[in-house]
C-alpha cells in the first residue's frame, strides 16, 4: 500500500477497424470526455501536439471520425527520458439520429478539441402546456 508512485498514463495505440492507415507512424487513441445537457452533447478530446488546422473530422454513415495529425516531429538528439511517443490520433464514434448532424461544430484550443453536437429537434425535451378550460 505504501507505493504511491506516480504513473503516467500511456497512450494507447490503435489499429483502425477498416484496414490500415496509408500514412506511416503510430496512431493513438485520445482521451475523451462526453457530457450532455438538454440541448447538446459535448465531446472534449485531448490531442496534445495537434494544431486545429491538422484535424480532420469526418461524418459518414452515422460514424463521426476524428483524425488529428501531429505537426511536431519526434524529439531529435539523444533521448534521456521517454514517457510518451509522438504520433497522430484517431477515434471514431457512432452517432444516432438524436444528433442534428448538420449542425455539429468543432473548435480547438491548447490541444483540446471540443465538439458540440446539437440534439435534433425531436430529441430536445419540451414541456407541453395543458390548456385548462
Amino acid at each position: 500500500m505504501a507505493e504511491q508512485e506516480i504513473q503516467v498514463h500511456e497512450k494507447m495505440q490503435v489499429n483502425p477497424p477498416e484496414g490500415e492507415f496509408t500514412r506511416e507512424g503510430p496512431y493513438f487513441t485520445p482521451a475523451v470526455d462526453i457530457c450532455e445537457n438538454e440541448k447538446e452533447l459535448i465531446l472534449k478530446v485531448d490531442m496534445p501536439g495537434v494544431n486545429g488546422k491538422n484535424v480532420e473530422i469526418d461524418l459518414r454513415d452515422g460514424v463521426l471520425s476524428i483524425v488529428g495529425k501531429v505537426a511536431e516531429a519526434a524529439p531529435e538528439g539523444q533521448e534521456l527520458l521517454t514517457e510518451y511517443r509522438t504520433g497522430n490520433y484517431f477515434r471514431s464514434f457512432r452517432i444516432t439520429d438524436v444528433v442534428d448532424q448538420e449542425k455539429i461544430t468543432a473548435s480547438m484550443t491548447d490541444g483540446v478539441l471540443t465538439l458540440v453536437l446539437p440534439k435534433s429537434h425531436k430529441a430536445v425535451p419540451r414541456k407541453i402546456p395543458i390548456a385548462t378550460t
Binding site: M1, Q4, H9, D33, E36, K44, P75, L81, T82, D110
Partner: protein, 156 residues
C-alpha cells in the same frame, strides 16, 4: 508413491510462514484489483493528471517536453534550480453547467508537480519555455562545461 518423492532438506514450511505468504498474496491481489489509492480517489473522481514528459539532449541544449492538453498557461509554473527543473500546474475541469450529465470521463484532471534533474549544467539565463497546442517545450542551453568536447589526436 510416497517413496518416489525425493526428500529435500528444509523444504517443509512452518505454519506461520505459510500464513505470512498467504497474507502477502492476498494483499497483492487486493492492490492489483483496487489500485493502491482506490479508497482515496473514489471511483468517480476521475484519474489523477500526471503529464508525460520527454527529455532529450542535443549537442547544444537539453529539450524537455510535456503533454499538457487543456492546461491554462497561467496555471503552469516552471522553475529552474541549479540543474533541477520543476514543472507544476493544474488542469482544471471545465464544465460550464451543472445540469450536464456526464457519459464518459477519460481525461484526467488535477494538479501536478514533476521535477527532473538534468544531467549537465545549464545556462540559466538563456532557458526558454513555450507552450503550443497543448505541448510545453523547455529549451535549456548547455553551459560550456557540459558540452561535449572532441579532441583530435594527431596520428604520428
Amino acid at each position: 508413491m510416497r517413496s518416489l518423492i525425493p526428500w529435500r532438506r528444509g523444504e517443509v514450511e512452518s505454519r506461520e510462514h505459510s500464513l505470512a505468504t498467504l497474507r502477502r498474496e492476498m494483499d497483492d491481489l487486493f492492490d492489483s484489483f483496487f489500485g493502491s489509492d482506490w479508497f482515496l480517489s473514489g471511483p468517480y473522481s476521475g484519474r489523477k493528471f500526471v503529464p508525460a514528459f520527454d527529455i532529450s539532449e542535443t549537442e547544444n541544449e537539453f529539450v524537455v517536453k510535456a503533454e499538457l492538453p487543456g492546461v491554462d498557461t497561467k496555471e503552469v509554473q516552471v522553475n529552474l534550480t541549479g540543474n533541477v527543473v520543476t514543472v507544476s500546474g493544474e488542469k482544471k475541469e471545465e464544465r460550464e453547467q451543472k445540469s450536464e450529465s456526464v457519459h464518459r470521463v477519460e481525461r484526467a484532471y488535477g494538479s501536478f508537480t514533476r521535477s527532473f534533474t538534468i544531467p549537465g549544467d545549464i545556462q540559466e539565463d538563456k532557458a526558454e519555455a513555450s507552450y503550443k497546442d497543448g505541448v510545453l517545450t523547455l529549451k535549456l542551453p548547455k553551459a560550456e562545461s557540459s558540452k561535449k568536447k572532441t579532441i583530435k589526436i594527431e596520428l604520428k
